[in-house]
Amino acid sequence: MLIFSILLSFFLGLLFCILVFEKNDNTNFRFLINLSLPLGIGISSVIFISLNLLKLPFFLISLVEIGLIIFLAFKIKKSNKTIGQFSGLKHIIPELQLQKPSPKTGSNSIAKRLRNSFNCWGEELLKNPILLLFTVIYFYAWLMDSGIFYFDSIKESHGLWDAFNYWNLKAKFISLAPFDWPHLFHQMVSDDFHPDYPLLQTGYIARCWLYLKNESVWAPIVVSFAFTFCTIGFLATSVSIFTNKTKGLIAGLILLATPFYMTMGDSQYADNTVGFFYLATVVLLTFARREASIKPQLLIVAGITAGLSAWSKNEGLLFIACLFCSQFSLLFFKNYRELLTELKYLLLGMLPILFLIAYYKISIAPPNDIVSAQGAETFIKLTDYSRYETVCKWYFEQFTTFGKWVINPWWLFLFGIIYKGINLKENRDSLLSAFILFLLMLLGFFFIYIITPLPLEFHLSTSIHRLFFQLFPTFIFIYFLGVKQKTLKQNHNLVK
């Protein structure tokens, strides 16, 4: 049942992505899979909580979800789109493959196409030994990290503190008291359980438990696995689409080789979840602005992923604010009408999720402890120089300890920029706005620490590394987007 419930979300995300992306978007199958699953999980969570708040019984919510999948399938059939439009599958599933294969071209034909496809990949790898080496190491790292994730998960099957204190605890409330949980959440002590935290992960785990009819520890483990590894896959494929395959593998390897990234994943915290949606928003915005004319449907999906980031963690709300602010930097290069049209589509995508968040925050959850503690003291904290000094000290300390690498890897990023230079010709708008977004997020986090009502050192020591990790995949993407590369023509050949 757990597999069934996750597969439902996967198909929801998959069909949605097939509908949104077009042939000339130059996406590939791995990109599609790594985006579909987390997106599907996010959409399922929104549907589940929204309909649950309308007091719909669970079996009806499941029917709505299945109905939506059928609706999307019909819509795709009508629009003549197929899964075969994504490169990487072209060899296996030709155009318009949704029809049944003719008896003459049965499994033999598919096997033949599979063989051809592997031959193509094999040829490409053999031509480029460096790419082959990176591919081998990438797969080795992927398998090793899966093993590490598994061993850590069975050792701490309920996850670490935040998992059993916030995310899984509230999931228990929702699954065991599906109609009473809003009332119970309202009475919870905010300082102990943070019932104001958004419900993407919580709601989805509760949904899985309702399918399972028990509170299996495997539901949060599988969800965390999906987000952790889809972030890696999505980052690697996105970078490979915009640059080349070797860089894509390097980007993925950076995350795979970062020891603390796996710890973040198997601890069942929501930081990888929100990190995925930050990355997806930036990547989708880059896709939408890749050509001269914008792609509204991709901007809407970027809006959805930004909304889902706010539905994952409160930091997502800061992300949305920074996202809109960062877009205004494009006024130097764009007509304001054009920019407003883009922002309109972004807002359109996130609006339903923002309504749900607003309803949850206003009607159900008690006020956030950081927000509710603000008042006259805020100004005193803002003018306290020692607080700035402390936060700065922690920011710089992260530079050396971040990720728990054996040696500090930051010089590699710096070296890459010095060696290759920065490319502002391709994807200029996306690169600039994404970089400003990244800086604004860091600045936002900085000021949250300045005004925090919690003891400053305690707050910093328990959260700063996780906040930086949320931004890490996005940073890697922006970095590879910005570093100069060979001619675009060459890269397109590599992608194909």
Binding site: I137, G147, I154, K155, K172, L184, L253
Partner: protein, 148 residues
């Protein structure tokens, strides 16, 4: 002439980068080496034996006492340090949800004592037993339910 040199330099740098990744991955691997060698034994040994899961075994019986969501007042050990006090409280809430476990000033009619170390309450000195509450059930594992 310049292009092949750049190409060679690029390849050398990529190989160096690859070595760096391999070194980092190896450093991660050696911490788990024994686990990778005996995955089945490790699974049997670790799965379900962590502190949180074991802690949950204490709540199997007490859960049956509350078929519908109830509000309970929580009392922990006396002189407990902040961290372990918070952990015991949170795990009580975790295992007894959707009952609401509260440890604020307002004392409800139903009280749950979670005495993980001392296991027993002393009737002669206990405030609640002296003020109208009685023991509903003592689960003999430190969990005691009192009611008015």
């Amino acid at each position: 002439m310049k292009e092949p040199i750049i190409k060679i330099a690029n390849n050398i740098l990529l190989i160096a980068l690859l070595c760096f990744f391999v070194w980092q991955l190896y450093a991660s691997f050696i911490k788990y080496e024994d686990k990778f060698e005996n995955p089945v034994i490790v699974t049997k040994q670790d799965y379900g034996n962590d502190f949180i899961t074991q802690y949950g075994n204490r709540f199997v019986e007490i859960k049956k006492l509350f078929p519908k969501p109830t509000n309970l007042t929580y009392i922990g050990e006396n002189n407990e340090d902040f961290a372990s006090g918070a952990l015991h409280y949170i795990l009580t809430q975790y295992y007894l949800s959707p009952n609401l476990i509260l440890r604020n000033q307002i004392v409800r009619d139903t009280i749950i004592y979670n005495l993980y170390n001392s296991k027993q309450i002393t009737p002669s000195t206990n405030f609640h037993l002296k003020n109208g509450w009685h023991i509903v059930k003592d689960f003999n594992n430190g969990l005691i339910v009192l009611a008015k």
